[in-house]
Symmetry: D3
Subunit: 239 residues, 6 copies
């Protein structure tokens, strides 16, 4: 069965990771999954939030946002509305959790790395692109700290990538674009480490509930997709 | 391995569903999972939100909140802080999605049912208790509409229950209380229909990432737990 | 003249005070005045707000709120609206003032007791029920401090109860339910100590202004009602 | 016993009511109770708020606010803080209720009069000065409507004035200035019609609770003070 | 060509500067430019904002606001709307910058002077009236500090006044009233020191863009107008 | 005197205007003034804001914002803070006014064009870069409307560009980068039409006030700079 853009069901969109897209940030990546384009900037600050002071532990968190015209129809700015929507909160929290899963707080010491993931253009899979790109920006921010000898030891305990999978017309598909996402009966975001373990599994039946066999095939698809993304991350980082 | 409260790994806490706890609401349930106590109130209004008017379709949504002293240490009111936190948004959206998965909008007609899930006391699993209780309140609100002949046909396409599962000291456990939740390496919330299909799978590695075998055992545990909860819901509804 | 629910003009609704309704709070009471049901939770924290630090004096305050479906027609959550309404503020302040009137700050020492009064179901008189219940929760919170030897001396200088009175069809009535409240020409809330002195007198002409004779008869009715409530509080506290 | 400013216990501060202080407003009064200075502006708009449309009834409401430097120590602007405090809400509601008590909505027709009471300088009794001045601005706004033949009949059913009374060192006093207000054991605001009936009675024990005899003497003092204020209002209005 | 109010093109409206209009503020001026009436209050506080602590430097800032009924048609309160509009922000910042231009922070020492400029009545030119009046209030606040020997040396390095100019029907005019302002093709606000130098030049083409010759004639008009205002300020200050 | 980056005083930084940087927006430009990088997106919607409906006139407005890590040190998101700062408001309003100066509302018909100017990287002159880029995006949005025959006639009455000028160490300079901007005694933003007329003149003395001769030299510098920018805009648009 042909996909809208001619891909096979288990094929990623063209993915690019452009490092050092910004001059000021300690780490920055423009990540593209097809037309989806997310600017990930890592900001390093010495010290940690108040509730963590004196613990000797570092902190990593993330904020996600969409530019108003990243989407097909313009959406109002959350700064103008005066509050952040539920979806934004949820994705910011997801990105933060995903990155923290590969961080050793002790090794990081009392430093904070904040990842800003701003969607410049949205065509489905913005949160998974954000996580995949943010990991690379995070790695650069860690290098920045390492070069300045501000680390106790290596804080990165692994790598992390993310991809969406879904069931469309009964068939499991990898890395949905917006048009596919809208039609999907089930939509799942998987955050997976470089050695193939799960950090997050978030599956939602948008239409009919899914059975265990369908769930299994989605998990397999996602594991393979994240393995590919991991390779692209390593290449981008010159490892 | 014994659990804090003496349960076996696959055992639910004592669950009670007290219907008609409120006099005004079209459906209401006080649901208890052990010490966790959530008041679920279903409010029926004729008409639908503006963006849905004239479609002939109904709407179901939910709002979740915690009383300030539901927790061990008092938390500030979100109304006083002037904004709703990320976690609250996320859970409200989850409850709404879970209930909408068993609703036929056409059959509901242009009616709205809003589920308020207010946590009176929190001891872990508040979101899964809320979904389990809210389904029963929703069913009562549907009956209210049915009795007034305001429905086109039967809008409930199934039942829905939810439970948490997690891995503690390497062992999968069902329905975590707060103390267990804090210690869990992996925490997963499962929303499952009465016929054993998945609506939501939300798993998060709080500590070490989990592998596919662990994921499989958690899914099995959750399927069994939700089957038990489904029975309790049916009993409460006198079906 | 018969009242809606068959009471005599000077009769309270059935009042119950259920202590220790919550497991976590240092004091908690579910208070019921007929169908009005308010959950009062007292939270003790060591220390006082910033502006009072170093004074050696304690602090007591209160927050009042209604669950969205406590009322006949659902009201929007103040947390969702992003601001607290005037009525909520006014009642929170009233409850705080009423309780502080029987507190010796010096004896309390630099401790804070915060009373959360959440209306689970509203049928008139929620603020007076809240004060009456909150006093009992406050007394339990004081006992909690006493048992832990955190008090300099006895901070409770008396007891406090509250009741509404009003004029309906020209006749003074005690403890109005919602239906009566709506019809009342004059509505008055009285907060009175156990020894019959006034802490608050808040009377409002909703319809025709009232003369001094009417005011006098309302005051008498309220004094008698609060004497009854004081007895119920003492019984609940096992004094 | 001499008062701070040499007044007798039953004496008002010098009161002035300067009408037409503003050029744009349909009614406006600069009211002074000693150093307390409140600018009351009445704004007339045709039509009523949405919830009242089609009822044939008018509406009157009020907003109270203090300029940041009206007080001895500057307070932050509520517009900058982003929310209105409890005290502001409470007083706005009180002023609105007090004025509505002398309005016949039917005679007013579907017109709205909004009273803005902005405290330019505060020296105690700002809410009672605001009510006393706002009545005069309201009367001018009614005249404005009458002259344009926009009224069905006379909407003013009476006059209204307000004054504070309190107990200081055991002695009842009329119209407290700030310094007295701070020291008062009991503080009471009375809103009274021109024919000596009560619209609002708001008494609060700031220190020791007050007994019924004390309450009686405060009421007498307030009735006399409002009778004086009524005369000043009538003079200002050239009646 | 005659102006609406009979002035010549280079004539100011009647300007009055009433000092010490308030009893509490360290400096206060009621400034009137024709019907435009702004109350300027200077509040002195020892210490500076957090970001400036320990620098040995003082701080001056300003807040501008309009009373809801200062305008012909009532506007909603920004405190009620819960946020400050763009225009308010912009003018507050302009006033602050203008005053800081004549302040030597070192001489001021770690003291803060905050200028509140509240528009009681608006008839065009509120921001320029505010700056002109605020300077006088600032000078009084500086005197207050000087008398208390809280200054290191003289912090005022000059004087500052402001005026609007505009092009109406092709002709440059000084100090526009509201009716003129609405019709102006170009609107310019000039903030100028006592010795004729520019602090701010803010010109906007409301209709047709303006050429360099027009710009030149507006600058000349403004320089002359501010020279007149400077004289009035000096007289008011008794210099 | 050499500038930091080797430019002559009257030389612009390298300017690029990349059209159609986004796939969804009706007009979009990535504008770069040296390291300053602003993404300008034009969104076309049929219809106009409520207050303009039925007038037959169109509307153009703008919103400006900075990504949190566009600057050297990360700034908090305005959406997270819950309100938009004064500077943001001020610049949004400036961009809107500048573009509206070259728009014939009647020719535009009841269509709205909203320009989003999001600063991806900031190195001084973000507002002038935004205006210069936004004009090009606006022109593309107008073409979009023209191609769909949604215009009555040509709405663009001219072109508009903007540049900053300033005085550094007494010498006038064109197009300041961040490091220069910080050091400038006077900072001026000029918005100028393609035929050399002024739309906005905004000059501020950051240090010493400036005299009329200095003002004149700044105006000359800006006129020449905008003439160069106008050429670059025309080239980008292929005119």
């Amino acid at each position: 069965m042909a996909r809208i853009d001619g891909r096979t069901p288990d094929q990623l969109r063209p993915v690019t990771l452009t490092r050092k897209w910004l001059d000021h940030a300690e780490g920055s990546v423009l990540v593209e999954f097809g037309k989806t384009r997310v600017l990930c900037a890592a900001s390093v600050t010495e010290g940690v939030p108040r509730w963590r002071k004196g613990s000797g532990l570092g902190w990593v968190s993330a904020e996600y946002a969409m530019l108003p015209r990243s989407t097909n129809t313009r959406s109002d700015r959350e700064s103008v509305k005066g509050k952040i929507g539920g979806r934004t909160h949820e994705i910011s929290r997801l990105i933060g959790r995903s990155l923290r899963a590969v961080i050793d707080y002790k090794a990081l010491g009392e430093n904070t790395i904040l990842l800003d993931c701003d969607v410049l253009q949205a065509d489905g899979g913005t949160r998974t692109a954000a996580i995949t790109g943010a990991y690379v920006a995070l790695a650069d921010a860690v290098s920045y700290l390492r070069e300045r000898k501000l680390l106790k030891s290596e804080p990165l305990t692994g790598t992390v990538a993310a991809v969406s999978v879904g069931i469309i017309d009964g068939a499991p598909m990898l890395d949905l674009c917006y048009e596919e996402d809208v039609r999907a009966e089930t939509d799942m975001n998987l955050v997976i480490t470089g050695d193939g373990k799960f950090i997050e599994v978030q599956g939602t039946a948008e239409g009919a509930p899914f059975d265990r066999a369908e769930l299994d095939s989605l998990l397999s698809l996602g594991l393979a997709g994240c393995a590919d993304l991991t390779k692209l991350q390593q290449e981008a980082l010159g490892r």
